[in-house]
């Protein structure tokens, strides 16, 4: 697999509003890509197209050698390969942390309850929350819930992880604990596409930064573009971000 994720001239409209106006980029296996940009620049939409939470009007999206924009796509197979973490955590409130994590592996991969619990424990260790295994989501802080959401996604052994502004609902302290988990994951070789407003994270963890503006990839490159932006739009964006 030479390319984990590839977007080529992707167009997406909500009604009359064109949100993505020809987006193209590639992500290599093991690469960590940060997508930055203003609200409304299309960055979250682009991310959601990758695991077909949104259908696109035209263009090519290839994920782990699958054509996402193909009517014959095996959607569930795609979603086993691609994990996603949302801004609002979206843990299942009626299930314990262990049950949240093992639900999909048990249903989709048919592992036993005992194996599911062991898997939950292993993934919780990865995010530093083993002691919360029998708690309910509402008993956890936002940062802890988000780390559980990451663990839940990892339990399906995805090949690509998508992060959709996962720290935007958290205060700086809780943001830090979530970002540390993500940085560890990045160092472990996970392919990650991270839509974020955390420039510090992009600088530290991203192999590549994509700046989206008005539905297109406006500027991209190594994290250096954050200190040395080429376009006036990115300069302007970074000046306002700090």
């Amino acid at each position: 697999m030479s390319v984990a994720v590839k977007l080529e001239d992707v167009h997406k409209s909500f009604g009359a509003v064109e949100v993505l106006k020809g987006v193209s980029f590639e992500v290599a296996p093991g690469e960590v890509v940060a997508i930055i940009g203003r609200s409304g620049s299309g960055k979250s939409t682009a991310l959601r197209c990758i695991n077909r939470l949104e259908k696109v009007q035209s263009g090519v999206i290839e994920v782990c050698e699958r054509q996402v924009n193909d009517a014959k796509l095996d959607l569930r197979a795609l979603r086993q390969d691609v994990g996603i973490v949302f801004q609002s955590y979206n843990l299942f409130p009626h299930l314990t942390i262990a049950e949240n994590i093992m639900l999909a592996p048990r249903r989709v991969k048919h592992i036993t309850r005992a194996a599911g619990r062991a898997l939950a424990l292993e993934k919780l260790a990865q995010v530093g929350l083993e002691e919360k295994i029998d708690a309910y989501p509402e008993q956890l802080s936002g940062g802890q819930q988000q780390r559980v959401a990451i663990a839940r996604s990892l339990a399906m052994s995805p090949r690509v992880m998508l992060f959709d502004e996962v720290t935007s609902a958290l205060d700086p302290h809780l943001t830090g604990e979530v970002l540390r988990v993500m940085e560890t994951l990045a160092k472990g070789g996970m392919t990650m596409i991270v839509v974020t407003h955390e420039m510090g994270f992009a600088r530290r963890a991203a192999d590549r930064v994509i700046y989206m503006h008005m539905g297109t990839v406006w500027e991209s490159g190594s994290a250096d573009i954050l200190t040395n932006p080429q376009t006036p739009e990115l300069q302007d964006f970074l000046a306002n971000e700090l």
Binding site: L53, R76, V82, S88, N90, L103
Partner: protein, 217 residues
């Protein structure tokens, strides 16, 4: 001259009460099963199925239970499908309950945040698994108070089946009153019996409501 109220009449009333309970159970169980199917049809991906279910709900909700009862018992009787009053009453109550319960439950399912479904689908669960493991357990919490409230209504509505000759609690009281003519005593006792059935349900509903509100925080 009519004689006074005696133990035999009380036993007769309790027998009627037994039929009221049985009719209510029939309505709850079969109406519940039917209501579940109606709910599934209302959230179906196929538009035609959703529409048919909607027409069913609108029609049943717009027609009095009494008319449904007459159609099932007398209407089908003329068509040659004669059935015992118990079956006719059970069928009419099922038709009636499944429409109302189906609509209550559809609302409850749709009250579960869309993001829950999205998160579950992103974990590669099938549509049915998403419904069973993620949406329904949360929808049940939302649905319980209105469902119990509706069941109280249904229990009282079973008195209508007396019109097709079914001797449940109301009809039993009427029969006794026709003999001894003590309306206050007879219908008073019948009222107390209905209350004894409905009040625990109402109480249970209120307890559930309080419990669920605490759970939601």
């Amino acid at each position: 001259m009519p004689t006074g109220f005696n133990l035999n009449y009380l036993i007769y009333l309790f027998q009627g009460m037994g039929w009221t309970v049985l009719l209510s159970l029939l309505a709850f169980v079969f109406g519940g099963l039917g209501g579940f199917l109606v709910m599934l049809a209302r959230i179906s991906r196929i538009e035609a199925v959703r529409r048919i279910a909607n027409v069913y709900i609108q029609v049943v909700q717009g027609v009095p239970l009494l008319i449904i009862l007459f159609i099932v018992y007398f209407g089908l009787g003329i068509l040659g499908v004669s059935m015992p009053p118990l079956v006719a009453a059970g069928l009419a109550l099922m038709i009636y309950c499944s429409a109302f319960l189906g609509e209550i439950w559809r609302g409850s399912v749709e009250a579960v945040p869309r993001t829950q479904t999205e998160a579950a689908e992103c974990l590669a669960l099938t549509r049915w698994q998403v419904l069973r493991d993620v949406v329904l357990p949360q929808a049940i919490r939302i649905a319980t108070p209105p469902t119990v409230g509706f069941l109280v209504q249904v229990l009282k509505s079973t008195s209508l089946v007396s019109v097709i000759g079914f001797v449940e609690l109301t009809r039993a009281a009427q029969v006794i009153n026709n003999t001894i003519f003590q309306p206050f005593a007879i219908f008073g006792i019948a009222g107390v019996m209905y209350f004894a059935l409905c009040y625990p349900l109402s109480l249970w509903s209120r307890i559930l409501e309080r419990k669920l509100n605490v759970g939601r925080r």
